[in-house]
């Protein structure tokens, strides 16, 4: 009887594979954000995409789902790579899925402020989504600053524009406990002159945002990640995952100056949303007006948006149907980490599934 013997690769083969992998991750970009989609609407740099459904219409959820990510990183983190993509997961579960991608702001967009995103871009994208989907209602998922924009939109326009459910992931909304929020300390008025930064650059440069975020955990970000790669250079699974994440991390985008200034002055320093003093184009943002069903997802190990930044949200909103979900993981890992497909995604999906028909 013939036997098949699995031969261990020799030392030379291993070294060769490791060198190949090292060259690959240092000289190329991983293919990320590749789930098939169509651009159905654009405004300035923003684009609304609809992901190509894989299930027939009768098997799909009736209520479409709109995804909104942060302003200073690319939304491809939601669709990192096949097998580790929230977008792919949701499309396979039968959702009519849309993504509002903000694009990359140029110098001409330095004046863009939160009101432009919340009152001009999102409502128009929602209008197009409803027209294309044929549904009068929709669900919304916002992540990071995308969650903040979604909260503002839900409070100001959500009720009148058919917002059924809102999912917030790692939302930076509450800036009361400044000692817990490292970024709040970094941007204190006595240390950080936001106007001088914007005078110098117009928009907040991607490099500075990235540096600020990485300095929250400098050794892990500047050394630890690379050591993890070196330790696993002969493990294709780890290398591919690292490559995809590194491609995304190093593809940060600038933040429009007007929005950045508001973010620092009104949120980090003034905590105006939680204090009930925030106005957007003359309209007071009252969280009590947020009546859509709400799922607030908090990452327990988030050092960028610590749990205290949205833990009090449920007490403030007017939604009769609201829930908090605490999941292990960091700011990005909670949705794009290797454990997300068995942790956060199914929990989020099962919550939204009951509110999508």
């Amino acid at each position: 009887m013939a036997t098949t013997e699995k031969t261990e690769p020799g030392l030379l083969d291993r070294v060769s594979t490791m060198v190949d992998n090292l060259v690959k991750v240092t000289t190329t970009k991983a293919p990320i954000g590749k789930t098939p989609r169509q651009a159905i609407w654009t405004l300035n740099k923003a684009t609304l995409y609809r992901y190509t459904p894989v299930k027939p219409a009768e098997e799909r959820h009736r209520v479409p789902l709109l995804l909104i990510f942060a302003l200073m990183n690319k939304s491809s983190i939601l669709d990192l790579r096949p097998g580790n993509s929230f977008v792919e997961y949701m499309v396979n579960k039968g959702y009519d899925l849309y993504l509002l991608d903000w694009g990359v702001p140029g110098p001409e967009d330095a004046h863009l402020a939160l009101e432009d995103y919340v009152l001009e871009y999102i409502p128009r994208a929602v209008r197009k989504l409803k027209q294309v989907s044929g549904s009068d209602t929709f669900n919304l998922l916002g992540w990071c600053i995308g969650a903040m924009l979604s909260t503002l939109y839900a409070s100001l326009r959500g009720n009148s524009e058919g917002l059924k459910s809102l999912i917030l992931l790692t939302a930076p909304l509450d800036f009361t406990d400044k000692e817990q929020i490292s970024l709040a300390r970094m941007t204190e008025e006595r240390y950080f002159d936001v106007d001088r930064v914007l005078q110098a650059f117009g928009n907040m440069p991607a490099g500075l945002i990235d540096y600020g975020a990485k300095m929250l955990k400098p050794v892990e970000n500047f050394v630890g990640g690379y050591l993890r790669l070196l330790d696993n250079l002969d493990n294709p699974k780890v290398v591919d995952s690292w490559h995809a994440m590194n491609t995304w991390v190093n593809d940060a985008i600038p933040l429009a100056g007007g929005a950045y200034r508001q973010f620092i002055v009104d949120f980090y320093r003034g905590n105006k949303l939680m204090n009930g003093t925030l106005t957007i184009r003359g309209e007071k943002v009252d969280l009590n007006n947020l009546r859509a069903s709400l799922l607030n997802v908090i990452a327990e190990d988030d050092h960028i948006t610590p749990p205290c930044q949205s833990a009090r949200l449920l007490d403030k909103v007017g939604s009769p149907d609201k829930q908090e979900l605490r999941v292990p993981g960091g700011h990005i890992g909670v949705m794009a980490g290797s454990g997300a497909s068995k942790g956060t995604w199914p929990k989020v999906e099962s919550w939204i599934a009951t509110r999508s028909d």
Partner: protein, 134 residues
């Protein structure tokens, strides 16, 4: 490999020592970068740097504006304001399109959609364009 041999792995020992050192270093750096003293130093360094960049930018802009004016070309400010105006026109067209769509729906007419393909983000994507948008 015998159990005895499995027990001793010099690489593992080196890695463990390295990781232990890294952890200690990470904690130390975290304490340092979280401190008000660090932020104060950071602020002190960034202030003159930002001031120099702003001054340079202002000077370069003023030279460029003069040069462009002499060449009878639009200035940076004019191009930027043109972009803002284009975005406003885009919004107006978007609103008109939506208004027409609403009107079409209210009279119950059906409208075909055409599809065009274009290149975006390095890959082929399809854009559905309504006849009104076109």
């Amino acid at each position: 490999m015998s159990e005895a041999n499995k027990g001793f792995d010099p690489m593992k020992l080196i890695q463990d020592a390295r990781d232990g050192g890294l952890d200690a270093w990470a904690k130390l750096m975290l304490r340092l970068t979280s401190s008000h003293e660090y932020q104060r130093v950071q602020g002190a360094i960034s202030k003159p740097t930002l001031l120099a960049i702003a001054l340079y930018r202002k000077a370069a802009e003023s030279v460029m504006t003069e040069l462009l004016a002499n060449l009878n070309m639009p200035s940076r400010e004019e191009v930027l304001s043109l972009s803002t105006r284009l975005t406003h026109i885009e919004m107006a067209i978007d609103d008109l399109g939506a208004g027409l769509e609403q009107l079409r729906r209210s009279v119950g007419g059906a409208r075909p959609q055409r599809t065009s393909t274009r290149e975006r983000d390095g890959g082929s994507e399809t854009r559905t364009v309504s006849t009104q948008e076109a």
